[in-house]
Symmetry: C2
Subunit: 187 residues, 2 copies
């Protein structure tokens, strides 16, 4: 085996090792969504109407290194996510953040409606399951379809994972905030 | 009474009526801090460090008319308030927003500490009162001393009232949000 060949093999192993580390990183990432990441950037978006900002959104996008946090792509994604939140109005970052009493109440309402329609129990269970999935798709950032389909087709969660894979480190939305004036509240 | 005079009288009455309405409006305003106002603007501030925004603040400043909301002074104040929030880190907008269990727990802690020091009951009451006032001054936006004393000397609440008087209509902070990355949480 000549030196060049050995180098190529090593390079192949390095790539494999990187892939493995990336896989492990992504797997571990699922377990630590609650942990505040030490690095990251704030994405922001202001929507103006009649000469003044009426909707504002902030998104805290966490990364593992300041190298990634400083990059243009990372900050652009943080701002894109803020624009998404302005339009799609999610209530929570991930499914785990939805309070269990909210889920229970939704399930109860859906179940009661299905029972009133005379549906059998085994069907009701499936209906509840399906509707809860759409509830998440409507209200949970990670489950929402990303509004700028020209930039990425899929859910926000898939987009963040794609970015994490590209950047080679754990990236996640720590939290977000949407503040508006002049909107009639739902109560 | 000639027509011109009648018109002037009517004008005088109109002004009085307006003043009365304004007074009532300001009095009523105290009761409706929770209500989303129909007009206003979003103030924002981003604090950057090492090449990316690490703190973001949004402030929803409510007004009664879009005329006021569109004005440069109003929007400048909204942005000034956002900068204040970034620095002073309030937890709530007004004293009424502090959950009663938080106040109760604070009072309990202060009272217990004073009793441990062997203070008499009538003194303890005064100590608790004074310390709760400082708790509000530390954590409630309206009670905080405005950080830009070169622009306004006094509390944020006084500044907002001053602005309301200048603009001639009810102005209030509906809510605010502060989002940061890389800050170690207090738990």
């Amino acid at each position: 085996m000549d030196a060049k060949r050995a180098l190529e093999d090593t390079k192949g192993d390095m790539d494999k090792a990187k892939d493995l580390l990336r896989e492990k990183g992504l797997a571990a990432a699922d377990k630590r969504t609650d942990r505040a990441q030490t690095e990251g950037a704030i994405g922001s978006y202001l929507h103006s109407q009649s000469g003044r900002p009426v909707i504002g959104v902030l998104v805290a996008l966490g990364s593992e290194t300041d190298f990634v946090a400083k990059s243009e792509d990372f900050q652009a994604m943080a701002n894109d996510l803020a624009m998404h939140v302005a339009a799609a109005q999610p209530q929570w970052v991930s499914v785990e953040d939805v309070p269990s009493d909210v889920v229970d109440k939704e399930k109860e309402l859906i179940g009661a409606a299905a029972r009133n329609e005379g549906k059998p129990d085994n069907i009701i269970e499936k209906i509840v399951e399906g509707r809860i999935r759409s509830f998440y798709q409507d209200n949970v950032l990670m489950e929402q379809t990303y509004v700028r389909s020209d930039k990425f087709e899929g859910t926000v969660g898939e987009m963040v994972k794609h970015m994490a894979a590209t950047m080679g480190e754990n990236i996640s939305v720590n939290n977000f905030s949407r503040v508006a004036v002049g909107e009639v509240s739902a109560e």
